[in-house]
Assembly symmetry: C2
Homo-oligomer: 265 residues x 2
């Protein structure tokens, strides 16, 4: 996109009144639009963000108990993994790049760029955003020699050192097909997805039904705390976890909140 287009959208920001009741979410949207102009986010990523916004609105834009439970378990899986990998897409790189890097340092875990719509320009743009936020090594750009079985085209390409040999993969919003394929490969998949009904949410081993901008800081805090716990205590958390129960709780919460909201009418 050329400079004119770029500065034109930037000008939009001034249009949103200071007292607009949805100003914050409008500004997050502008951030994603800018990321699209910088080739970090693909247009389809904007639509996916919109879906997330809707579910976030329904849960009340707060981290609820079901998400906290999932975050605790995610933390336990990540710190006990042999080769944990954080899979990064365009939306995550735009919204939480510093948190991704920080999390990768304290676990420690590898970072891999993993895109549904992969092209050279985007790979490099996302890698650069992560490096600008302190990432020392970003997989998934020039090392995607391996493929996820049962998938095809650019979507199946992964790094041998990263996702291909990972035992635990943390991912943001993801295509259901790819989540399923990763689980079939025997990996533990932790998904951050506001839609508890998505195939990714239903297929993942741990589903954090929360906004990634709230979930990642909480996950960082939990990993820091849990690092001080004994291994067997951490293992016990993992064995007691039930993802289906967490998802049911999330849906029940959303259902009750909609019922409540209808009472104000």
């Amino acid at each position: 996109m050329d400079k004119t287009q770029d500065s034109k959208s930037r000008g939009i920001r001034g249009v949103v009144p200071e007292n607009h009741p949805r100003r914050d979410s409008i500004l997050v949207r502008e951030k994603l639009v800018e990321a699209m102009e910088n080739h970090v986010v693909v247009p389809q990523g904007l639509i996916a963000h919109g879906r997330g916004e809707c579910f976030d609105y329904i849960i009340g834009e707060k981290t609820e108990r079901f998400a906290e439970t999932a975050i605790e378990n995610a933390s336990a899986l990540l710190i006990t993994a042999k080769n944990p990998v954080i899979s990064v897409n365009g939306n995550m790189a735009s919204l939480v790049p510093a948190e991704v890097v920080r999390l990768s340092e304290i676990i420690p875990a590898k970072i891999e760029v993993n895109l549904f719509y992969r092209d050279r320009e985007r790979e490099l743009a996302i890698k650069k955003v992560l490096e600008d936020h302190g990432a020392k090594k970003v997989l998934g750009v020039d090392d995607t020699s391996e493929v996820i079985p049962e998938l095809f085209s650019e979507r199946r390409k992964v790094s041998r050192e990263g996702i291909f040999t990972a035992d635990v993969v943390l991912l943001g919003m993801e295509d259901g097909d790819r989540t399923e394929a990763l689980v079939k490969m025997g990996k533990k998949v932790i998904a951050i997805d506001l839609n508890p009904l998505s195939r990714t949410s239903l297929t993942a081993n741990v589903t954090i039904v929360d906004n990634v901008t709230r979930a990642l800081p909480l996950l960082i805090k939990k990993v820091e705390e849990m690092k001080k716990m004994k291994e067997d205590e951490v293992q016990k958390l993992i064995s007691n976890y039930n993802n289906k129960a967490v998802l049911r709780e999330a849906m029940k919460f959303m259902s009750e909140r909609l019922a409540q909201l209808s009472l104000v009418l």
Copy 2:
């Protein structure tokens, strides 16, 4: 956007497998992405579409009773109006241009381009799409000499012949501020919005909680039927309508559907 970029996104279509369970909604998304490349839809329109997708998913992607009730009333208001106007934004122009034109002919109603993010290129692109689908006259492009009180900047500009003097305005997803301002001006506002909780939905006189791609064909059918009814029968429908009750029904339906869906887990 240049040609290379354009054809690159077009190529994406081949990537979506024929048997992908969400293929239809992915293809609608591609249509909107293409509309963005043609300057008809603004990136924020993609995010708005995503929010709609989520609510549509929750209601089961079908027109429900609460939407039918609202469509019936919308039809009654439109055919008895003195100066009904269909307000068209980028998403409507991309998804239902032929239906907008057809509806405007049978009511008859004027068509006005009405944009949150207005610029010359977009105005003309949307006007052209509507003309390509048979619209003989499109307001809101070179005739926006009037303003909606209490709004500012480009968002307030309207046509004197159209929205400014309209008694009934049909609109798709709309900014809550503008809907409120139109209602304060004494106009009857009919909104098509999948989110029953949006300020537009709560403020409008009639809220059709349905996907615009399903609602417009049904509205066309209803207008055709109702044109044959007696004026006093049509008036009775209007006086019996209760939008709050319709919105409550929509939320109750969504709430119950989420509760049901959680049972399959």
